[in-house]
């Protein structure tokens, strides 16, 4: 166990963790950021997706020590002064969730996608999102939500994360 400094949602936090402890467990169990979910621990479902320097990253496969010095964004870090990001708002507006357990990972994966391609092609969208599972089967609505957020961002400009 060693002390490390992590930059999470704009705050530098000191945590004690084993070097190889997954970032997922550090976020959830040591920092109380439970919006990031465990789904498989093997990088196959995307429920644990966070942004590391803007890139959608599986926190279950990322040792916490490897994230030192990087900007980590979790679902809790998106809302600013009570305002949802366009992606969060679009998920609400489209009703793009059922149980909602995949939603954090979906929103972060979609946010990274739109940061790179503000108006993604169908192929870019499917390629970016295919690693995220929704067992409730809300994919068509999630696609609609990403398209809605894309439209909003094209109008407003991409300054959202």
């Amino acid at each position: 166990m060693a002390g490390i400094l992590l930059n999470v949602n704009g705050s530098v936090l000191r945590v004690t963790a084993a070097d190889d402890e997954p970032l997922l467990w550090v976020l959830r169990n040591r920092l109380g950021l439970t919006g990031t979910k465990y789904g498989c621990g093997e990088g196959q479902c995307g429920a644990c997706t966070v942004l590391i320097d803007g890139r959608a990253t599986r926190s279950c496969l990322t040792p916490a020590a490897a994230a030192v010095g990087a900007q980590i964004t979790t679902i809790e870090g998106l809302e600013k002064s009570g305002a949802l990001t366009p992606v969060q708002q679009a998920f609400l507006d489209e009703g793009a969730l059922q149980c909602g357990y995949c939603t954090s990972g979906m929103i972060l994966a979609a946010s990274a996608l739109l940061a790179e391609h503000v108006a993604p092609t169908d192929e870019q969208l499917a390629g970016a999102m295919n690693g995220n599972l929704c067992r409730c089967g809300t994919y068509p609505r999630i696609v609609a939500a990403i398209r809605r957020a894309s439209d909003a961002l094209v109008k407003k400009g991409p300054d959202y994360v």
Binding site: N29, T34, K37, A47, E79, Y101, T103, R135
Partner: protein, 705 residues
């Protein structure tokens, strides 16, 4: 759901023997409510699943729900039903708001907390909308009537001249108006209601019947919602459980000394139960890996031998009635085929999770389950606790699909917490969820049938070994159908409830067999069905799906096939048209599915669309590629990398056509949307290729996806 079907599903979990009267001390509850109005619904009078004697066990006849209005006018509804993603928290609140004449936002729902809510059998079988819905509405009507009476007393007015709207009672003659909270202020008004008061007809609904967004939706898109696996308690430790290396394995020896030496780690042992706890999950995982155990795993069959084993256990095919054989002999086109369905997993994205806490001999467990009172019984039995020493709390969880009826994880967490002397959180790994949960039953279906040259169905047999009786009855008009469900005493895997349960397999077999007959007759599959349908509600969804899809507009080709299927289950009617694309490598892709739906009066069209669309997407997995592979007592594909679930790229264009029958009672909608896709896809694959696939999953052999 018929009583027989409900009982069959209940028996999967041995509920019959566990039912116990609801024992909450209502006076204690009233003490906690600081004044206001409390309405309890008695079990009599309203159509509901409780209150009927079954097999010598009387279900509780006490109270099935209650509702409280505080001095500020805040309405709290208490029900044992739970929210698992099906949006029942929203739609039940809509029904209460409608009858109580308050805005939707005035309603809070307390659900699935065994200390606060009345006993409930569980959230399964699509029962919440058709039973709990009317119960809550009945209570809300009674509450509204009490408030109107209270106002009439204050104003010395005739209650019949007063109106209730928007959380207020108003006297139109004088203009006097009082908010509900003011009417209850300072007093404890209670009433127990029974009977069937006049409910607001669906044709007059203003809040029910509308697309109210998911309750607390913002909590979910901001990560604030606390699922069972997110609960934390002061001083809480994290647990892991040592698993057997195969089903039915017995422990030979164990050496936990290396784990015990780890700092901050405690090994908890109770007979064959061995677990570890630590102050962080990473250490608990490391400690578990250090435990050396030897297990004796008995020889067990593999999935390659599954259907032969089921056939053997199901016994030789019973002689069908003379009437059936005679009718079949007179048919021009005959069918005699076997269909199969593999074991599949629920794979809820949130695995089983529980946080257990012991305090002064009382056990509290937060856990994800569709049966909080069933899990409470499991805990009471496991630790020999009296009913008032166990509390189960069910935070809205990461789904279930029928897969979280049982309390194993809760019992394990409680055992660890007891051993550790501290609260313990246990989250099953994905591999544990895939292995130690239970599965949708596999089955073998023997289908025989015959039709006259003019398309009249004259003979029908559908025998199902093991997968279950739901959806077994044919909706098509045919004399003396031979329909049987054959139970298997010793199935190879633990099996239990599932969304739609056997109805998916039985619809697959029936609707594909009907398609076989239609092709044998050289008749359009829709025309063949329509000719033999007498149920106008089923005919209506077939027509609606076909119209929207453009059925018959184009002919199937080798590259593109069209298929149709439908049926009725749990009070809902569904029909689907599918278009599949086949490539030279025999790869199947579902391009488009139109599904029409009718389930009486629609309570929330947006939530309903979401459920139906989701059920269709989920159905793709079982139809094309999901199957549990097992051998040697182990699941061989217990990971998402090996057990393929439907993903974004698998999703076709989906269109849902809703038929809102406001003249009919609302049926539950969580399950039936899953049954029509597989046969529609199978029939479309046949239309394109001429190959009839009679086993689910269909794209696991000759074809891929």
């Amino acid at each position: 759901m018929s009583d027989a079907a409900l009982l069959a599903e209940a028996s999967l979990h041995d509920i019959r023997d566990r039912i116990r009267a609801f024992e909450l001390d209502r006076r204690e509850f009233l003490r906690l409510c600081s004044g206001g109005l409390l309405v309890c619904l008695s079990g009599t009078g309203v159509a509901q699943e409780s209150g009927r004697a079954r097999q010598g066990h009387a279900l509780p006849q006490d109270v099935s729900a209650w509702l409280h209005i505080d001095a500020a006018g805040k309405v709290t509804v208490f029900t044992g039903k739970v929210e698992v993603g099906q949006n029942i928290r929203t739609s039940l609140a809509q029904s209460v708001a409608e009858e109580l004449r308050v805005p939707f936002d005035a309603i809070s729902m307390i659900m699935g907390d065994t200390d606060l809510t009345p006993w409930d059998m569980g959230t399964f079988g699509s029962r919440s909308t058709p039973t709990m819905g009317p119960q809550l509405r009945t209570m809300a009507v009674a509450a509204r009537e009490m408030l109107v009476e209270a106002a009439a007393n204050q104003w010395s007015a005739d209650p019949a001249t007063l109106t209730a709207a928007d959380g207020r009672v108003t006297n139109p003659k004088t203009g006097a108006s009082l908010a509900y909270g003011d009417l209850t202020h300072g007093e404890k008004l209670t009433r127990t209601v029974s009977g069937d008061p006049p409910l607001t007809p669906a044709s007059a609904w203003k809040i029910a019947g509308t697309a109210v967004p998911k309750a607390q939706g913002r909590e979910f898109v901001t990560g604030k919602h606390q699922y069972p696996s997110d609960i934390t308690r002061p001083g809480m430790l994290f647990g892991k459980v040592l698993r057997r290396t195969g089903f039915n394995a017995t422990l030979v020896s164990v050496d936990a000394s290396a784990a015990e030496k780890m700092p901050g780690v405690q090994v908890v042992r109770d007979g064959d139960f061995i677990g570890v706890v630590a102050d962080n999950v990473w250490s608990a995982e490391q400690a578990l890996a250090k435990i050396q155990a030897k297990w004796n795993v008995p020889a067990q069959i593999s999935n390659a031998e599954l259907f032969a084993a089921l056939r053997k256990q199901g016994g030789s095919e019973p002689a069908s009635s003379g009437g059936f054989e005679q009718a079949l002999a007179g048919a021009d086109v005959k069918l005699d085929q076997e269909y199969t369905v593999a074991y599949i997993a629920h794979a809820p994205l949130e695995p089983r999770a529980a946080v257990a806490e012991w305090e002064d001999g009382k056990l509290t467990v937060w856990t994800g389950t569709q049966r909080p009172f069933g899990v409470k019984d499991d805990l009471a039995r496991a630790f020999r606790l009296s009913d008032d020493h166990v509390r189960v709390i069910m935070p809205d969880m990461g789904s279930g699909y029928g897969g979280k009826h049982t309390g194993e994880c809760a019992v394990e967490a409680a055992r660890l917490a007891k051993g550790a002397g501290k609260p313990v959180k246990l989250i099953w790994t994905r591999e544990e969820e895939f292995t130690w949960a239970y599965f949708r039953p596999a089955g073998v279906m023997a289908m025989r049938g015959g039709a006259k040259r003019d398309g009249t169905l004259v003979a029908w047999q559908h025998h199902n070994i093991n997968s279950g009786p739901s959806g077994l009855e044919t909706p098509y008009a045919v004399p003396n159908p031979s329909v049987r469900y054959i139970e298997v005493n010793d199935p190879p895997l633990a099996q239990g409830s599932y969304r739609g349960l056997a109805s998916t397999a039985n619809h697959f077999a029936r609707e594909c067999a009907m398609d076989e007959l239609a092709h044998g007759l050289n008749m359009d599959p829709l025309e063949f069905r329509t000719k033999n349908l007498t149920d106008p509600r089923l005919s209506a969804v077939f027509t609606a799906a076909a119209e929207k899809f453009g059925w018959g507009r184009e002919k199937s080709t080798a590259q593109r096939g069209f298929g149709i299927a439908g049926g009725t289950e749990k009070g809902g009617y569904v029909a689907a048209c599918a278009e599949v694309e086949m490539d030279a490598a025999k790869k199947v892709r579902i391009r488009r599915v139109v599904q029409a739906w009718e389930s009486g009066a629609i309570v929330n069209p947006d939530g309903l669309r979401n459920q139906i669309m989701g059920a269709m997407v989920q159905a793709i997995g079982g139809a094309l590629f999901e199957q549990v592979q097992f051998s040697g007592g182990q699941v061989q594909n217990a990971h998402f990398a090996d057990y393929r679930l439907p993903r974004f790229r698998d999703t076709p264009q989906i269109e849902v056509v809703l038929i809102d029958r406001r003249d009919l009672p609302s049926a539950g909608a969580g399950e039936t949307g899953i049954v029509a896709l597989a046969p529609a896809v199978g029939n479309a694959i046949f239309a394109a290729t001429g190959v009839r696939l009679r086993g689910m999953p269909m794209a696991a052999g000759t074809f891929s996806s």
